[in-house]
Symmetry: D4
Subunit: 247 residues, 8 copies
């Protein structure tokens, strides 16, 4: 029931003003005391609530998985651990864990995917963040291709994938160390590039700061950047863009 309808019912007298005032305040989230599950979210943004598992107390985590699973029949969590997997599957036995991407999820088996998101990485060590992006995009209904280990220090590897890149609606470019992958990719294609700096590297990479600065300062057009190792965020934005393209 939306505000217009509500007000019309007040006029008709089927709802009392006091009651209406209360309804106007009550927003559709479920309050677990310590957490407020945002079931309104799917309506508001087109994406269901997901779970950032890292650091969640055990009891909270299990209850959150249960609640979302009960309501939606599926649930996606990121940054999970093997221990959290053990824990959650006692309550939600369908849950599966991927140790590379650290995604812990139940997914509708016959989900239809559409569009074309490409996820590429500079090196093999960037694959965990890339898989977080790719699987997030897939969970939200995007069709995803992966092009891994095509860093700019051997530019011919990247150039040989040019056609595949050119066909994407959105490209997620995942790279650590000096993080130049996004710039080169963006110079080759027409679609937006979401750059994900990773914490891969050592010394003056400062846990991803160097790659982040590289990407933020990119001299190429068409790049925007998410947080270090934030594959989830990139997969989410890529899906938003992909959905616009396939509408």
């Amino acid at each position: 029931m939306d505000v217009g309808e509500l007000l019309r019912q007040v006029k008709k007298g089927t709802i009392e003003p006091d009651q209406a005032e209360e309804l106007l305040k009550n927003l559709p989230y479920e309050d677990l005391g310590y957490a407020k599950l945002d079931f309104h979210r799917r309506l508001r943004t087109g994406f269901g609530e997901t779970v950032f598992c890292q650091g969640k107390p055990d009891a909270y985590l299990v209850e959150i998985y249960q609640k979302i699973f009960e309501r939606d029949g599926e649930v996606l969590g990121t940054r999970a651990t093997k221990e959290q997997h053990e824990l959650v599957r006692k309550a939600v036995p369908q849950v599966v864990f991927d140790p590379i991407s650290r995604i812990l999820k139940v997914e509708h088996p016959d989900k239809k995917r559409s569009g074309n998101v490409v996820v590429c990485t500079g090196g093999t060590a960037d694959i965990p963040a890339a898989e977080e992006a790719a699987q997030t995009a897939e969970y939200f209904g995007s069709r995803v291709s992966r092009i891994y280990d095509v860093g700019v220090a051997g530019i011919h590897r990247l150039l040989s994938k040019r056609e595949q890149l050119a066909s994407a609606n959105c490209i997620v470019a995942v790279a650590g160390m000096e993080g130049a992958l996004g710039t080169v990719v963006a110079g080759l294609v027409e679609c937006p590039v979401i750059a994900v700096p990773t914490s891969v590297g050592y010394g003056a990479s400062f846990h991803g700061l160097s790659a982040l600065l590289t990407m933020i300062n990119s001299c190429a057009n068409g790049i925007s950047v998410v947080n270090i190792d934030n594959g989830y965020g990139a997969g989410y934005v890529a899906t938003q863009i992909n959905r616009l393209a396939v509408r």
Copy 2:
């Protein structure tokens, strides 16, 4: 002529191997000695070459404006000064300068614009970067709405624009100081939000670093970030997304 065609002509003998080798190497840019104008760009990325005016030596700047204008009949430059305007208009009299956005351009008069990009700012001091974004998006064919001075310290101002925000294909959120605008906007809408940190602020804002970190660390989904004050970059990405939506 693409590579396949070229190779077929080699087979037919209409092109000699040596000549073909040369053609394979020659790429369609114009070499001014000090600069390489990338006319191939429009084909490759769907966007024409633009000019970053800041710090360009006078003679270079004028010649670049002339070359692009001659070829495309229009030209967009960012971060220009009044002095550069004086200079360029001797060679390209049609050029106009907007002191707020610092854009120096000639634009086709009857450009058709489509789609829906919203550009919003936290404060009035963020308007220069916002205008750079808005006018860039317009130059590249996007229809743009502006919602200025709706920062999160008075959240009611932003909430009253909720419907307008919800109708966008892409939102550019421009904010300095603590830079929280992007997060709140992204929590309200379905479309991607491009966040532009600005150097507005003082003290520990560190010329935009604080706003950049806020945006990169956003706990909302659907945000990606460009460089501090990089309105051009945001307008460019917003156009890419808008084009996908209106295709």
Copy 3:
């Protein structure tokens, strides 16, 4: 008219649902196009709208001063310049400018002040930020005492003011360089201390960063910190606390 009243009128039929929906959305700010003056603010927070003059375009600035002055009969702006003073006083002749604090204001002549806010500084170079704090607090109705140049390198100067410090409802401690004033003051008194780091210093003071870190890391209890040189913010918080004390 509050929401309850509005809904009752909908029930009575004196307001139509559509009209009510519109009213619910319309919030009491005045839209100047480029800026949204928040006249609702005084009701919501107990403080009127003020003006951050730095970087405001001339035409905007003058109009904002006029609008606020017309409505409130007084107006306070910070970080103003002599040039802005010249400009504004053409439209609002009553306006006065203090070159130390850089405050540009019209103030009701017989404002009653109450409570007890103490503003102290480490050195003479911290006086501009201190005066911004003191005059802001006075504008919002606080009685203010000033204790300047009592930095911790000559601790006896500070200790001789102990009684005066002890009588305050709130103390604003303004210091640059190593910024230790707040810690020592907080160790001597019962009331909250608002610490203002200043950009005074050179070398590794990094324009106030050193003082900011010192204050944030204070080992004393009862300190909280505002931005570098943010006298206005400190004067504002001090007034909030002072008001609670004199209620």
Copy 4:
């Protein structure tokens, strides 16, 4: 006996000058050799001495708990571990440990609390710092309400608590990641907001630096900031303010 009284007794001859000189020097702290317990503190600042447990050698810690407990009948320590709990309760069996807030304390059972401090968090991961703040404020006699998981990425959750926020004497806003909670809260209320950045986040959150900068640069009025994860400091300042309000 204060200085005036002391001097009068010197005049009367009941105290010898040498003895008086000594008394003037002796300040009421207890010297444990390695630590100086500041029993004078309660008189000077209105708050008893507390214990920062982190990194304290075992023998020191136990002795400090004993000394304070003996004198005051209660004792509050922060940043304790389960191991420290085991240790201290051998000497002070009444001591209880809360693993969320990491507070290790004995508290007078029938402590009367007054006033109204609200503690709110952006997410569930911010609860440990929030509980440190809430329990500290309660220990020092404040009545505290908790509003958790109302971060700005889903602004409706926060807005539905508007009335509760508006009734506070002081609000403690605890948030990590981009840390924008304080700004939005401060825009809604009349009372001071103490912002606590937390180290919650990853990547470019830099262990709370991003949230700290956001809060320090807040464009809202009425915010001041304490150290990253410093719930104790915020609870302390909130109590100071609350006491002024309920005087």
Copy 5:
């Protein structure tokens, strides 16, 4: 077969255009799915592919060692662990591990080395990075001398090695803490100095940042710098220079 030859065969008809187009695209790397081994590398740069072991998943690591060893008869990996050694030697029994340099390699037994690379360190704690440099240079065919523990705080130790330094084609200067070794060495010799900052130190050394800044700001001529602890990179560049000298 190079492009010229390929095109001549197209002309002759021995290769079809379609086939030629495919060949032009296929570059000589082996795609393991997750990684692209760059066997073309030795031709392109004169150096074979090596392995950065840190963080490589076990299965990947073993397969990469096998592939390279099969093809080249030798293989060099850096930043390996004892556990990785155990793992790899099940597949490649010849592999040996040096716990100081953390190099895990098979090397042709009678490799001829030539030229003169000197590797020197400031302290004994810098030896791991120095050995990574020295053994890398040796693997790629350089003759290497080591001069360890000659830091500038006891300048006579360094000066007594002056002749040995003067005879080098390239010097690798490895130092942590304040990192001044490179400057002093470069002031004594004619050949290029590659400076390697190390993460050795504590406090304000910030894990090598201080040494990195020292070296980048060197007032001596003839210094260039690689990443913190990047012995491999320094050994590589030193070999490039040494090869030019002995050509």
Copy 6:
């Protein structure tokens, strides 16, 4: 009159308790309102009050110079400008200005100097900070030798001054860029070395931060560091040490 004497007079009745209480509070500084001149300083620390000219408002500066000159017959100010010289000499005609060190002073003509402080620099651009140090030390009575432009990139220049260095009671080592001078000097001598980082350099010298970090991380013993460009501070400490040596 000290506290003991004061108390004895109270006992005798020559001073009333109230009066005594007041005297105990009154400390020997002169309050100019905006500044508190610390005439007690010479007694407490053995050094007279000096003036940090940078940023002092004109009227304040002149009055401070007058007050100190009247009382002490001499006065030393640092970081002065030519304009401040013009201003001050109208009130204190004896004042002289040195544009290299930016010292503005009146000095007793026949000051006896003793001991042995050596001030050395890495380059010629470090001379301003070095002269500030040298002249400060001379003002406070130290005999000073200067050894300039002996940076470590040409270590033989420094080594040839070895004897002169060895004779010092304290050495001030002034250097920018990579700032390694202090380390090498400290390795050669027995006396303490005060290192002064300077803002000389460019790029990654970050206005002296690099030199500061180098010096703070020095692997030599016997170095301590003052702020960037803080010649005054170094000259002061050097004098303290020199005085101890010549006592």
Copy 7:
């Protein structure tokens, strides 16, 4: 006369021990009081003394140019200004100034150049640092080719220069903003690449810090890095390497 010879003459009695001791100490630099010209340098390192003009006092600068010119018949200075040119040419009329590279020099007219150094830039704004590198290398006898404006955002421009790059003995890669040029170049060639980060950019480029970090973290082999904008340093190292190659 070397040490061996000297000692033999002491034995023969042609040189007295005292005299020998003196000779051992006297090193061949010319002491101007404020500066020590290092004429020994050419012998020691194979390169003559040059002048870093920035910030040199006028009188010093002129005398240094004169001394070096008198002795060597040529002189190279970097970071000069037009004003310094005016000044120096009164004393050394042959001196010429290039406003792009800011080099102020007299150069032997028929200098023979050999070898092959390539200097390339990412954009046109990087040309000043590139010219400083190129002209420095030429001054020291290297043959230099320039390839400007071949940044990685349009990778085809760079790839078309592949052969030219492959023929170099050393490549200097000059780039600001995200600074990825060095990595891509190093992946294409066999010779060492000296990367020069420039301060070109804005926002989060932090005056070259971003480019510096990118280059230091390069995932390509064969790169080493000099200070931000340090074209001179890169030209110097490139010459050292080029000399080894052409020996």
Copy 8:
């Protein structure tokens, strides 16, 4: 035998030139291959060689302790662990370990100490660094007094120790968190203050950076600073100064 004597013997013929040349080169350090023990040090600087234990490989550590102990009859190491203690005492049974200061040493039992060094700390957590300073100074022959837990948040604790501070030849002020102890102490005394920032704190203390900046920016005169937690360095400098005072 010094150089003069050596040369005279060459003249007399008792030493051959070749032999003399060799002797001139041979400096009195003992080369263990991986480390160069600097036995010349005691002569050159008046202090024997000490050992920085952290990170030293076991075999090296034991051999170094043995060598120094054999020669000097005593040995001091810092930053040792319990494990290193176990190891070393097998070879040098007299060695004792202090777990607070982490010093591992053999010390001559009847060492005469003289002078007066005061070591004070802000809190109890700063005691480890303070003890490293105190015991180092004692090892090198200084008489040391300790004043612990006198931080500036309770300034009366510090002021009551005023006389003890005033009697020192040198004060070492050790403090973490906001690190203001050094400034207040330096304002009270005549002697030099060596400030040691410690890594004590959390959040924005950034492992001691905040305290380091505070101390470097101190507005008091007479402070110089050593590295974070560098008690050894402070104890060393304090001894140098103390020796000058007691000469």
